[in-house]
Amino acid sequence: MNEVTPVEQSDVAAVDPSCARAPVGMLCELTHRCPLQCPYCSNPTDLDRVASELTTAEWQSVMRQAGELGILQVHLSGGEPTVRKDLEEILEAAVKAGLYTNLISAGVTITRERLMKFAEIGLDHVQLSIQDVDSDNADRISAYKGGLAKKIEVSQWTKEAGMALTINAPIHRQNIHNVPRMIEFAIECGAGRIEIAHVQYYAWALLNRGSLMPTRESFMTAAKQVEHAREKYKGIIVIDMVVPDYYAKFPKPCMGGWAKQILNVTPQGRVLPCHAAESITHLTFDNVKDRPLADIWLNGEAFNKYRGTEWMNETCRTCPRKEIDFGGCRCQAFALTGDATNTDPACSLSPMHEEWAKVAEVESHSTPPEFVYRRVGGAKVTVGGT
């Protein structure tokens, strides 16, 4: 008998050809509204307005279709998903569809009563973000006062209700010194898991890259601290780390391969192969209001465009790692080279790699500019301190 191993990325597609291409996960951005204004937000810089959001019935239909398609896990995200007053009804549809439900929240808008209601409906997992363990710095990063104390409350209610708790900590140059304390904080909260999520430089984070990019040295220090903590806290907390690809030799297997494992539904109902895909400006995206989810997943133009390995350029197509990292990230390739079929500059085999890595080197050693906070219009403000 073997240990129970996590499903490998390729494994999902390998089992049964009739259902080979069902995605494992669905990320639903229920809204782009959020009381926090974190400058590394993964939402697009052009935020969807509230009037254009899908209705309750439309989201419920998405959940039913996801279950039928064979999707296993749904991530209810945003923006801040709990600002939707109908979250209970959407969650209920997801639970009924047999989906494993994960709420990705900043926590600050949740009451105890409401969280208990979510648990009663059948919510499985709460993923709670923190901006820092130093309250003042957390307030400054999120442009929101008193968030950390509220998050602590939500963490305790989550445990009280018997749901799984993950602490999600986006890491950047203005909080990277606190990585060990964040892990200790997550343990104190009773979290079973923490994500040390080095900021990925798209959308708002790309806009704020100069304020967020850590130096290579501080990244290496943090990586060692994580390695040490994994040993020290084995059996106590699971520590997952998302690596900043500016300091990597090979690119990340973005989304586990384009249109292979995950789909993303925007507040307006557009279905994307990843949450940043709209940055590839020549792609067109189908909407759940016009076309069934399964049809979009299997036949949608944007999904088929970079699915598999056929689209790859010579460098990627002949690379022994093509089924490991899939040529990296299409959005990053497009943003930085102008052609989404190019090798991701995060890859050392990209002709742009050196130039690109230099950007991180230079920016991380320069004085960080003020944050461009995540809000409609993205106006520049400073909240307290520097």
Binding site: V4, V7, G70, D124, A164, G192, G235
Partner: protein
Amino acid sequence: MTIGQYAKRERTMITGDCRPSIPRFVKMRHDAGRGRWILLAPERVFNPDEIAVAVLQKCDGERSVADIAAILADDYKAPADLILKDIIDMLQDLSDKGVLNAGEPTKS
């Protein structure tokens, strides 16, 4: 609000006396579309083999690990001590990953 009430301070070690159960937030079900059993957990999908499924289906918080080993030894006509060791290894791994309630015997 103070924290620490739910903090796990020590690694739980699985023994034959533990009475394990699957937590509320872990779901084991048969995935018809993919033709196999799956264990759904936070940001993870596990793919238990036939024997792992047989073990996990018996993790009800009542049976001890030793009880489960005895049942399986009978079902699979295998030596109980060998089965016990394998089961402990498997459950330890799941416990370390936070997807199993170990059900430790109360210390006196």
